[in-house]
């Protein structure tokens, strides 16, 4: 779960990290008010879950409240990479002497938290990592011991932080680590952390991503979830307990298991790509899906107008194919799909499942033995329908 910049920074503040005294607003009037209160130069920043908002015109500096209002009118409602700007953050302008990068993230390979720090902040970290990897100091944290003081000294020293800032940098790093741990963050990033003209440190931009699996113990953060940019179909799937991700192709996929679901997508592309045909979605119905869930999944798949064919690929293990077949029939009768459906049932009770499907004699049902056959038939069905 991604937090917006303003949510991230307000969270940082709870851990003693100094941030600009800005406020968030959803209307131009409000922005003008906040800018007037703050006085002086302000920055208006679009709050969207996507990078590159600066280049897209979503960040503007204003000399006074009136200019702030004009910028807000432009930014609010703006479309940035498909996302509508609903809120802006109004921050006082900072006197920036130096921009620093500081982040803590999960290092999957090392299976430990990783701190990354660089005196060359402000730019995109992936870009910096490609161009000047040696400018980034990397320090792992023992997940049981937590961050130690000597590691903070090492990082400050190795990155070339001026000594005058070691103390305040150490406090910020400790605060960021606490924030990362207590919030179950996958990423807690300050970019840039700036040294101001008078030598203070200030977190000018921030990004926090929370581990979805830990939200059960993060009620305050869960309440902050902004789903306004989540596609309607994904929201419905989430509420039905199904993992669904909309893609751009024509073949709706319904599969049990994430690895097999990806594979099924890949197969539609493998055999369809030459004709511009591919998967319309990722969908994992999980282990013991009920007929109701199958029906819900089918409805979600079909809510995508691009879908010209639905491919069921079920490998029955613990799941029994005869039960799945019954679920498909129930769902079919409820949803009444008007596109062809390729059904491939394999594994436990596959013969019985296939018998149930074929006996039902539904129109537009194409059965298949293997995944390869199923993918090829789905591609063919799309081509025929086109």
């Amino acid at each position: 779960m991604k937090l917006h910049e303003y949510q991230s920074k307000f969270l940082f503040r709870e851990y003693g990290i100094p941030i600009p005294q800005g406020r968030v607003a959803g209307a131009a009037d409000e922005v003008q008010e906040i800018a007037a209160e703050l006085g002086g130069v302000v920055v208006i920043k679009a709050q969207v879950h996507v990078g590159g908002r600066g280049k897209a015109g979503g960040v503007k500096v204003a000399k006074d409240a009136a200019e702030a209002r004009r910028h807000a009118e432009n930014i609010l409602g703006m479309d940035i990479k498909g996302l509508r700007v609903e809120k802006v953050l109004v921050d006082p302008g900072a006197d920036i002497r130096q921009e620093i990068y500081l982040a803590i993230t999960n290092d999957r390979g090392a299976r430990m938290p990783l701190i990354m720090a660089s005196m060359e902040g402000g730019m995109d970290i992936e870009e910096l990592n490609r161009e000047r990897p040696e400018a980034i100091i990397r320090e792992h944290v023992d997940p049981i011991m937590g961050l130690q003081d000597y590691q903070m000294t090492f990082i400050a020293s190795a990155m070339g932080m001026p000594r005058a800032q070691w103390r305040s940098f150490g406090k910020i790093l400790r605060g960021l680590y606490q924030c990362y741990v207590k919030s179950d963050a996958e990423l807690a990033e300050i970019n840039p952390l700036v040294i101001t003209g008078d030598g203070e440190l200030l977190a000018v931009d921030g990004k926090v991503i929370i581990d979805d699996n830990a939200l059960f113990r993060q009620p305050a953060l869960t309440a902050e979830r902004d789903t306004s940019d989540e596609p309607e179909s994904e929201r419905q799937a989430r509420e039905a307990g199904i993992t669904y991700i909309k893609l751009d192709g024509q073949i709706g996929c319904m599969v049990n298991g994430a690895g097999l679901a990806m594979t099924t997508m890949d197969m539609t592309k493998l055999y369809g790509d030459a004709d511009g045909i591919g998967p319309a979605n990722f969908l994992d119905i999980g282990g013991g899906a009920t007929p109701e869930q199958v029906a819900a999944a089918l409805r979600i798949i079909l809510s995508d107008d691009n879908v010209k064919c639905v491919l069921f690929n079920i490998f029955g293990g613990i799941t029994r194919c005869d039960e799945v077949a019954n679920g498909i029939l129930t769902a079919y009768n409820e949803v009444k799909p008007d596109v062809p459906m390729v059904i491939r049932l394999q594994g436990t009770n596959a013969a019985e499942g296939n018998r149930i499907i074929s006996e039902a004699q539904l129109p537009n049902i194409i059965s298949a033995e293997t995944l390869t056959e199923a993918a090829k038939r789905a591609v063919a069905a799309v081509k025929e329908g086109a």
Binding site: R108, I144, D184, N213, G257, L260, T370
Partner: protein, 285 residues
């Protein structure tokens, strides 16, 4: 031989009185695994299908000499359950549970390493040595005994490949599901090393997916330390970057973890990479 388990493994099921735990415990027993008991805090003294239930793993191990444990408890209790098993001297802990927070797993993995216990998973289907024993949820019907080792991040994809191998007359030494989470107890390389050292394994099938760099590290290992041939499949070639494909670990992020780079690395290391998992038996023949 085989790796990780054979019929001598004495298996505990943590959460045996739960729906999932009990169901799979029965299937494991039917398959021939020596399930010696179960653990459910607060239900010590009860019985499950003739096997004793204990309050704690420590007591269970003292009484039954169990050396393998299957963790089937809900996500918020799973980290504690794994550590309990490791602390009680269990040599192999297999965790089926999905949705465990990554922060918990980082601590748990470090803890297991310090205690000398091997962890498989979490969010994995477990391990099966065909004809001998299975611990986890891999269906009996997907494999027959033989000389190919299978290691995989996923569940049903593994069944798919196992089943295709079985239909092609290719048997399996051991199937190992390592799980699709970002932080897992046992990685591809560790399992590849076990297969390389296992006299009964002649070839290996590796089933990876997008996200992380475990397959890249595995390619490095295949190139530098393996003599046995490896066939591989990487799921997620059609997945767009920045989207999490069901598995918590299956996400192409910041340009890292794409199927293409993994396939290239594996091919460069000498592995034969299938574009379609149903081609794996052919690559192993």
């Amino acid at each position: 031989m085989s790796i990780l388990i054979d019929k001598s493994a004495k298996v505990l099921v943590q959460g045996i009185t739960g729906r999932q735990g009990g169901f799979h415990a029965k299937l494991m027993m039917e398959y021939g695994a020596d399930v010696v008991g179960g653990v459910t805090p607060g239900k010590g003294g009860e019985w499950f299908e003739g096997k004793p239930v204990f309050d704690t793993v420590r007591t269970a191990v003292q009484t039954t000499n169990a050396d393998v444990s299957l963790v089937t408890v809900p996500a918020r209790f799973a980290a504690d359950a794994i550590m309990e098993a490791a602390d009680a001297g269990i040599r192999l802990v297999i965790c089926l549970t999905e949705h465990i927070p990554v922060a918990d797993m980082m601590r748990v993995v470090a803890f297991c390493r310090a205690r000398g216990a091997r962890l498989l998973g979490p969010n994995c289907p477990g391990v099966m040595t065909p004809g001998q024993a299975k611990v986890g949820i891999i269906p009996a019907m997907v494999a027959t005994a033989g000389n190919v080792g299978v290691v995989s991040k996923s569940g049903t994809l593994t069944y798919e490949v196992g089943f295709a191998m079985k239909n092609a007359g290719i048997g399996i030494s051991t199937i190992v599901g390592i799980g699709g989470d970002p932080v897992i107890g046992t990685t591809f390389v560790e399992v590849l090393e076990m297969f390389e050292n296992d006299p009964e394994t002649e070839k290996i099938a590796l089933l990876g997916e997008i996200g992380g760099s475990a397959e890249i590290v595995a390619a490095d290992f295949i190139k530098n330390a393996m003599t046995k041939p490896v066939a591989a499949f990487i799921a997620g070639r059609s997945a767009p970057p920045g989207k999490r494909m069901g598995h918590a670990g299956a996400i192409v992020d910041g340009g890292e973890g794409s199927a293409e780079e993994k396939i290239q690395a594996l091919e460069a290391a000498g592995a034969r990479v299938a574009a379609n998992p149903e081609e794996i038996p052919g690559l192993l023949a």
